[in-house]
């Protein structure tokens, strides 16, 4: 009964991945197999360097925003108050918005005559509109913000299921020992939800490195990320070899992060 699934995963995931790596080591003209020519070509180009830097930065900004805000909201959702039910329902809404649509929405907000500029203008912070898609740090924060809007609910769900798995007796015990709220958070809550935190972080990091739709919609061709770079090499230059090389590098980046992180925090937490 497992066979169809295994065959499908082998045939349509593993084989393509190997093919992609194969393309990346194949000479563009002669088709000769092991060559580093493609890597030499893209690593030397400025566009690729930018794409790599942008990908790493957007992951860093996005992840720190998402994990911290996600944690705060998840904590708020565990405390009992009147609006908890409705608040919880609202926080889940972006999960239901297609990523392309969230990109479109952010396009309206961040365009030069968009609503963020208008808001900043009305509260008197700026006089002239800011061009957010102009490149550089601004564009990166825009993409990270858009990503955050869309995916923080997933982080909240994962962290919340962690928080809800902590038995209340633990807190009762710490209350008897006279622990402050801060101590509660750092010495009880955080260690106990560490596996959930790890899962959320790894899931999010993988998706952040692979970021594709949002830059396609938001950043256009000015600000490249590894994903959009690979796409552009294939569609604009019809070059499967450099595209494959970019994808392979992206794969390596993700693998380094995931295994590095698991190695660092210890694989025991993940196994739980």
């Amino acid at each position: 009964m497992v066979l169809p699934l295994i065959l499908f995963v082998l045939g349509f995931t593993l084989v393509p991945v190997l093919q992609c790596i194969f393309f990346s080591f194949q000479d563009q003209i002669t088709g000769e197999f092991p060559t580093l020519g493609n890597y030499r070509e893209i690593v030397g180009s400025r566009k690729f360097g930018e794409a790599l830097k942008n990908t790493l930065l957007v992951t860093l900004i996005g992840l720190s925003l998402e994990m911290s805000v996600g944690m705060m909201v998840a904590l708020l959702l565990t405390t009992k108050h009147k609006f908890r039910g409705i608040f919880r329902a609202i926080t889940m809404i972006p999960m239901g918005v297609p990523t392309v649509v969230s990109g479109v929405i952010m396009l309206y907000i961040f365009s030069t005559n968009g609503y963020l500029n208008e808001f900043l203008y009305r509260i008197g912070l700026i006089q002239l509109p800011i061009d957010w898609a102009n490149g550089g740090f601004r564009t990166l924060s825009m993409v990270a913000f858009a990503d955050m809007w869309k995916v923080t609910p997933l982080v909240i769900v994962l962290l919340l299921s962690g928080l809800e798995s902590i038995p209340t007796t633990v807190y009762e015990a710490s209350a008897i020992d006279g622990a402050s709220r801060r101590q509660n958070f750092f010495y009880i809550t955080l260690p106990l939800i560490k596996p959930f935190f790890t899962i959320a972080l790894i899931l999010r990091a993988i998706d952040a490195f692979r970021i594709f739709e949002l830059p396609m919609v938001l950043a256009g061709r000015n600000t490249m990320f590894l994903g959009t770079y690979a796409y552009s090499e294939y569609f604009d230059y019809n070059n499967i070899h450099t595209s494959g090389a970019a994808s392979t590098i992206l794969m390596v980046v993700i693998a380094i992060f995931v295994f590095g992180y698991i190695g660092m925090v210890g694989s025991r937490e993940v196994e739980q």
Binding site: L5, F12, T13, T91, V100, V104, F212, E271
Partner: protein
């Protein structure tokens, strides 16, 4: 002159009032944060809707108003009347439905087997399946696209269904394993003791109990496919799905058409997600975490 009793009372009162103040401040801050979060989530969606129903003079200006000033259904009507939406809509629906059905048919039996494996093997298999998520989609989509060009599957529904299954199956296997894990093995054994054979135990005990999970899983598959962008952009050249069509209007810089398309793309998802919310809570997603 105050007696010591009075002084003690005053001090106690003071202590209580600072405590109360701090409590109130905390509560105030909390509600402020909640209000900000809600605004942060809802305002963008309302803006999207607003743009799709506003007259052009409200939007294409240096200082767009935040509220709807000149309401109009024109953009919606135009999009529906122009008729470019029907082909992508149909294509998206067909592909998503096939993906949902095939996803369950392929993943559910496998997930059942996986969930009944010994613990450490199960963990390994799940991790192996899950780790396919680590591969960048652009890296998979490239050879897939090259191969599908050769097989003549580009621009066909079949090609897109196959590509979407790549994305959906690992997720589905993961979730379904969680579902089957929640069905105790003892129930099956009880059925066997009562004289069922293995097939009957599966059909009459396990299947009905896993129905809810399967439904939730297949709806998730449907949504994933409906929203899918990367594979679609690699595999759709002439006939696009709804997300690609939306992207096409974004590229052309057409605000109103892209807004209307985005709304049409979102409405079914919103409805389904809202219905699904109970399943999206912790159980099905965290099921796979509880090993």
């Amino acid at each position: 002159m105050k007696t010591s009793e009075q002084r003690g009372l005053a001090m106690a009162e003071h202590k209580i009032s600072t405590k109360l103040l701090r409590h109130r401040l905390n509560r105030g801050l909390r509600f402020l944060f909640i209000a900000l979060t809600i605004a942060f989530i809802l305002v963008p969606i309302l803006l999207l809707f607003k743009i799709s129903v506003s007259a052009p003079q409200d939007i294409l200006t240096q200082h767009p108003p935040f509220l709807i000033k000149n309401f109009t259904w024109n953009h919606w009507k135009k999009v529906l009347a122009a008729g470019h939406i029907w082909v992508p809509l149909w294509k998206s629906t067909v592909v998503a439905t096939f993906v949902a059905v095939l996803g369950v048919l392929i993943a559910a039996p496998a997930a059942y087997v996986i969930s009944r494996l010994p613990r450490n093997i199960k963990y390994g298999v799940l991790l192996a399946i899950f780790s396919t998520r680590m591969f960048p989609e652009v890296g998979i989509a490239l050879p897939i696209s090259v191969t599908f060009v050769r097989w003549g599957l580009v621009d066909t529904n079949l090609g897109l269904v196959l590509a979407h299954l790549i994305k959906v199956l690992p997720l589905m296997a993961w979730i379904m394993t969680g579902t089957f894990d929640s069905i105790p093995k003892d129930l099956e054994q009880a059925a066997l003791v009562d004289g069922c054979d293995k097939g009957q135990a599966l059909l009459k005990v396990v299947l009905p109990l896993s129905m809810a999970g399967m439904a939730a899983g297949s709806i998730l598959c449907w949504l994933e496919s409906w929203n899918e962008f990367t594979y679609a952009v690699y595999l759709c050249l002439a006939e696009s799905t709804l997300p690609i069509k939306t992207y096409y209007y974004v590229r052309r810089g057409n605000w109103f058409e892209s807004a209307a398309y985005a709304v049409f793309l979102t409405i079914p998802v919103m409805i389904v997600t809202f219905v699904l919310q109970n399943y999206l809570k912790s159980d099905y997603l965290s099921g796979a975490l509880k090993y």
